[in-house]
Amino acid sequence: MPLPFIILFLPLIAALVILLGTRRSGQTSAMVSVGSVLITLACAIAMLFGAGEAASLTWMTIGDLTLDIGIEIDSKTRSMMFIVTFIGALVHIFSLQYMKDDDAKARFFGGLSLFMFSMTGIVLADNFAMMFIFWELVGVSSYLLIGHWYQKNSAADAAKKAFLMNRIGDFGFMIGILILFGLTGSLSFSDINNGLEIAEGASESKQAGLLTLATLCIFCGAIGKSAQFPLHTWLPDAMEGPTPVSALIHAATMVAAGVYMLVKVSFLLYAAPLAAEVISYIGCITALIAALIATQQDDIKKVLAYSTLSQLGYMVMAVGFVGMGEFDKQGPDSNIFDPANAAYFHLYTHAFFKALLFLGSGAVIYACHHQQNIWKMGGLKQKMPITTGTFAIGTAALLGIPYITSGFFSKDSVLAATYSKPHVFIPALCTVFLTAFYMTRLFVVAFLGKAKSDDAEHAKEVPPIMFLPLVLLAVFSIAAGWSFVSKLFGFDSHHIPHPHGLLIPVLASLMGFAGIGIGFLIYRGKEKDPIRIPLLANKFGFDELYAGIVRIFQDTVAYVAKALDQILIDGLLVRGLGAITAGTGSLLRRLQVGNLQGYAFLFGLGVIAIIYFLIISV
């Protein structure tokens, strides 16, 4: 059994075992799940060092089309696999303590295992069909996990919202897949890549138009999954789920799946420059809007959620520059500066420090007895030193503190990718400032100063089972930027070509420090937020807008349905048939003339008719 298949199916087996066997015992289920993820982690580490090769299982054949469970291994797959299993393992261990007193531990860990299975499937996929199937599975796992505390209405609604918005994106995704299938006759990535190269010569304009459409449709899937504008509203609501879930799914892995998919099929963008432009704009808009909203949020998890949105916007923005510059199309293993590589680099560093930040916030929430409002925290530096320290490292990585943190290198590469278009580059730079600003706000208010409530007074450091993952992630947040580590993952972080020498790093660092400084100035020692911008605090009113659109649409459909029902079905068919029958009946009743001669007359008519038809017109 090839190694990748073990990684793929082991979590599924664990989930099935939990579902069928150990439902009643939370502790046993937890152990099963943790065990499976540790084994897969070991396998993934082995894969990093070269084990595992491509393989394929035929799943089903329909006429000429075969759907396989196919596995494609390149450097990105190996590194993504490691990220998924490593962060997954840390989240599992963290949850052992975090969810200790929960009633439905078995369900939680079953959901986590299902998620690991689905995410692994996306990472390993070599064809669109498999990717789509696991894409949907990831959505289902997300639904289950967000709605873990389903007794709370807000959690159930958030789970539904996440799933529905994902579905909207997936609809576009499916159309894109079908168009590509129509153009090239195959669903696997390598076949499509080859198919497009061959077809590039023939009927260019028609191909190009369809290809652009297909790429945009496929991007819809990424819009849904990676919560880009306009389908971004589900991610902040998804914070209703337990914090470890937010860390795993909504920071590091699932939302990154959209970017991962874009990176994997970035060969499409070389032939569809229009689509690439659209992608970069959407990424840029998302990054900017999310950063703006984050500056006014009071819930620690919401701030981090918008931060995730913003960073995902960065990654998508970078992907949109594929094929723009003078860089030729290269394979995924090269180190020539491919914007897709920049996006992927940022994805991989972001996974570590965002997971760290979320788990850190989880630790804080745990310590403050499930208090999530940052204005009710404070003074945690003294009471939870390890958590504060790791959180600081994570924040630094997010802000891109020069040379020390991995975030610096990855953010830098993203900015370098966008440099060719000032109208994208400038907003990206402003977002750097905003990121620094709101993260400083968060850190200063939650961790520094005095305790602002009783919960914060009585906080104490979390047990080792919870802070060890934090420490490990902090190490990676720094180490992932080192050259030899990144080489392990397929590229050299210190030798990414930059245009204009050190201009970009300097600009970015300036903006970052400016944000930190201003943040400190404004928020140091404050008891409540001195700035109040309702537009931002209300998330630009998108939720209300969407609700309004849905309501208008529903009302229209309901009205039409009611009209159809009343006029067509009720009036025409049901009552109409009745009326016709009654009318015919009363018409025919006239035939019962009641008098002898009338009957005789009709009789005579009948005879004439018979004679005519039988004899005369034979």
């Binding site: 019962q592 009641g594 002898l596 001669q597 005789a600």
Partner: protein
């Protein structure tokens, strides 16, 4: 020499007259008589066919005439019964006008 068609024509005309009488007269007895006319027309055409269909021996095909015999018999029985019914009807309704017998209308 008369041909078959002429006999048939006459028979048909007689039938038509009888049918017109059934449709147009209002007295039930007269309607009954017109029914008899129609029956007789049929008898005429049967006998005509019987005479004109000679077998090889030059003998008419007597099936037609036997049938006419039966028809006459049955018609006689039918008249007896029909008139009995009409008498009973007359006793009940005190009328012989067929238009007044319309309780089955609609």
């Amino acid at each position: 020499m008369v041909s078959l068609n002429e006999y048939l024509l006459v028979s048909g005309l007689l039938f038509a007259i009888g049918f017109a009488g059934v449709l147009l007269r209002r007295n039930i007895i007269v309607i009954f008589m017109c029914l008899e006319i129609m029956l007789s027309a049929a008898n005429l055409s049967l006998v005509a066919f019987s005479r004109f269909n000679l077998s090889e021996a030059g003998v008419p095909n007597y099936n037609g005439q036997v049938l006419v015999f039966f028809i006459i018999t049955v018609a006689a029985a039918e008249v007896a019964l029909g008139l009995a019914i009409i008498v009973a009807l007359f006793r009940a309704r005190r009328t012989v006008h067929v238009e007044d017998l319309d309780s089955m209308k609609n």
